[in-house]
């Protein structure tokens, strides 16, 4: 039996897709929200350090499963490697309702006005497709606010002189510092820097019918046992379902966007939870499957009219894959500095996000989330024992005497860092898989050196007897903060969609995830993805005439 026609299909129930689905459903537009994974179940992961979103040596607790979702890595030398979701090079993102918003550390950053105007602020950069966004901060401000209030953020940025202007304060008070946070932020202040509490999509007080945070140590990488961490799975998606206009279809793998003779999207072809091929028709199709999977789906949607994939006339689909090179410094203390109260990261500073001499962009610095025992065992100062008695002694003695400050560097978009599809490697359903290739821009590593040096200064000032830098920024980008592969822009020749996430070629096809990002900012991206979800959703609602898309 054919599936009943709906107004809108949203592919991907993560940060962007969950928000769009809710915006449409709340305005009477019928939605089917497709998700390749299932609903997250706390019992499926609890506090297992070997099987969560940070350490997946024994499996990816939130999916995708290893057997059915391979990817390909293409080396510079033409080598080809098939990978599963058990390592960072897979660029793994949770495959479940809520996606990364279930298991994230929940930092809720607004990007700064400069982050939307990188080319205007810094000029052109050789070897980079650095560009301004087609929207500015002011156009997104109300969407940020909506995300903060509807999904729930704790914070207070009044001590951040670099904060982007806001109309409304955060809905919940900020979290207090840990012992380590107090020590390090005092040191930062002595150096003339401006630390302040990290805004978190986590309840500092009961909010919206869910309780306050219990400071669980197994927070980042895990689902919250008391539901105090706010994602789309426990806020906007249930709200969308409650309207009666949104159906969530889990365990469905969407294979392609189908098109009609006039070149408009007609719906999607997908495989249901029993691997049966199905078709779903709709008036509008919105793709929010994460930067890698969104690009893959567009590229796999080929037809006579769109031989290179739908919405890919420019050839820019899959290009400019970015993420965040994390970089920073660590230090050892002769007394306990970490109380190991979860989740660990408490303060940030934006002194190095912009306008530092010789640096294009830059990045945020924060004290680090706690690592768990196995993770900590893999982490040692340069030259320290990797095994044996000395390794064990360090593990026992230094777990509370180590401190780290790290941050995400704003990467320079590289046209050659890209997603393609591999015709020879297919997933469980026979769909060509995503192939990742290219490297970060050479400047990223230089910028990382700068940020790591600043981090080390703070740890040293805090009294560490030994410090060292961990400098990132080389190799393939992507990973958890993957973005940029369906760039938004005003010029159809150098972008994939317009400033509302609407395809330049197919007016009823939209993108609503981090694929839209022109540049990735020097911050964790999730609040900006949610804000874009509201932005795209608002536009669709405004242009909906009650029965048809204008």
């Amino acid at each position: 039996m054919a599936n009943k026609h709906v107004n809108a299909i949203v592919v991907g129930a993560g940060a962007g897709g969950g928000v769009v689905a809710k915006e449409l459903a709340a305005n009477g537009i019928s939605v089917i929200l497709f998700e390749r994974g299932g609903w997250p179940v706390y019992d499926e992961c609890i506090n297992d350090e070997l099987r969560n979103q940070r350490t997946f040596v024994l499996g990816s607790a939130f999916g995708p499963d290893w057997d059915r979702h391979p990817r390909v890595l293409l080396g510079k030398d033409g080598t080809k490697r098939i990978v599963v979701a058990n390592g960072w090079d897979y660029s793994h993102i949770a495959a479940c309702v809520g996606s990364g918003t279930v298991s994230y550390g929940a930092m809720a950053w607004r990007y700064m006005p400069e982050d939307f105007k990188m080319k205007t602020t810094y000029g052109s950069v050789a070897g980079s497709t650095l560009e301004d966004w087609p929207i500015c901060y002011d156009e997104l401000e109300s969407c940020y606010e909506k995300a903060e209030w509807e999904i729930g953020v704790s914070g207070d940025d009044r001590n951040n002189p670099f904060a982007a202007p806001r109309q409304k304060p955060y809905p919940m008070p900020p979290f207090e510092n840990t012992k380590e946070g107090t020590l390090l932020s005092a040191a930062a202040r002595r150096l003339g820097l401006h630390p302040f509490p990290i805004p978190m999509l986590r309840n500092s007080v009961p909010y919206d019918g869910r309780p306050g945070c219990i400071r669980n140590r197994t927070c980042i990488g895990f689902q919250c046992p008391v539901d105090a961490k706010n994602g789309t799975h426990n806020t906007v998606i249930p709200a969308a379902m409650a309207t009666g206009h949104c159906t969530v279809k889990t365990h469905c793998q969407v294979a392609e966007v189908t098109t009609g003779t006039k070149g408009r999207a007609t719906g999607v072809r997908y495989f249901d939870n029993k691997d049966r091929e199905q078709y779903q028709t709709a008036d509008i199709v919105i793709i929010a499957a994460s930067a890698i999977e969104t690009a893959r789906l567009l590229l796999n949607s080929r037809s006579k009219l769109f031989p290179n994939g739908i919405s890919n006339e420019s050839g820019w689909v899959g290009r400019n894959l970015q993420g965040h090179a994390y970089t920073g410094a660590d230090g050892l203390f002769d007394h306990d500095v970490r109380d190991r109260i979860g989740p660990g990261a408490t303060f940030g500073l934006c002194d190095f996000n912009h306008h530092n001499k010789g640096i294009i962009g830059g990045g945020l610095l924060c004290n680090e989330f706690h690592d768990l025992p196995y993770g900590f065992s893999q982490f040692r100062p340069p030259g320290a024992a990797r095994w044996g008695k000395a390794h064990k002694e360090f593990q026992v003695k230094m777990y509370r005497r180590i401190s780290a400050i790290r941050g995400p560097i704003q990467e320079m978009p590289n046209f050659e860092a890209r997603i393609t599809v591999d015709e020879t490697v297919k997933d469980h359903w026979g769909i060509p898989v995503a192939a990742l290739s290219g490297e970060r821009h050479v400047l990223d590593h230089e910028h990382c050196k700068f940020l790591s040096a600043r981090a080390e200064e703070i740890i040293r000032e805090a009294g560490a007897y030994q410090t060292w830098k961990t400098i990132g920024g080389k190799g393939l980008s992507g990973s958890q903060h993957q973005c940029g592969t369906a760039r938004m822009g005003n010029d159809p020749k150098t972008s994939v969609v317009n400033k509302y996430g609407q395809s330049h070629q197919v007016d009823n096809l939209f993108v609503a995830d981090a694929s839209l990002f022109v540049t990735g900012g020097g911050f964790n991206p999730v609040l900006t993805i949610m804000a874009l979800g509201y932005h795209v959703g608002n536009y669709i609602v405004k242009n909906w005439n009650g029965s048809k898309f204008k």
Binding site: D48, L50, R51, W387, K389, V396
Partner: protein, 183 residues
């Protein structure tokens, strides 16, 4: 009092536990390793995380059980690497010391592993397998078995959490989780 109960009762104090001999592991039937291979792996894990004055190590935590269990589950692709690596390790020891690895004195084992780490072992036994990489893999798996969740067969009695003075994992959902992912 049977042995299991005895072990359980001694767990209440680290002081008592530190006095347990290194061989006080539960002899579980192995799924992948032969008894001989297991003895070699047990000796390896003992080198990587030895018992010392801070408390028991990998042998007590039954790390070999973790590795054995994962080799028939998640680490199936590493089966042949383990077989080859153990054989190469034993043959190298026989040539250098005239004894198998697990028969050597603790300090001699340590000296030998330092050689393995720098690929300074008889090449003829290591065909198609890199000594340093093999050892690195065993280190990684030993750390997982010792410091990871006990549900996967190692970290017996939460021993690493006790050493690191971390409170036990919360019990919420634990029982159902065990049924789905543990033994």
């Amino acid at each position: 009092m049977d042995r299991r109960k005895f072990l359980k009762s001694t767990v209440t104090g680290l002081g008592t536990m530190a006095m347990l001999p290194a061989c006080a592991y539960d002899p579980a039937p192995f799924r992948f390793f032969t008894q001989k291979e297991a003895e070699c792996v047990i000796a390896l894990t003992d080198q990587i995380i030895p018992a010392d004055e801070s408390g028991p190590g990998a042998v007590y935590a039954n790390v070999v059980n973790y590795i054995d269990q994962q080799l028939v589950r998640v680490f199936r692709n590493e089966q042949s690497v383990y077989k080859k690596g153990i054989t190469a390790l034993q043959n190298s020891c026989k040539k250098i010391y005239g004894q198998l690895f697990h028969e050597l004195e603790f300090d001699t084992q340590t000296d030998f592993l330092i050689k393995v780490e720098s690929n300074n072992v008889p090449k003829e036994f290591w065909d198609g397998i890199d000594p340093a990489q093999f050892f690195s893999m065993v280190i990684r798996h030993t750390m997982q078995g010792f410091y990871g969740s006990p549900v996967h067969g190692g970290n017996k009695n939460y021993i690493s959490y006790r050493l690191m003075k971390l409170e036990y994992p919360q019990v919420v959902g634990q029982n159902r989780y065990r049924r789905n992912h543990g033994e």
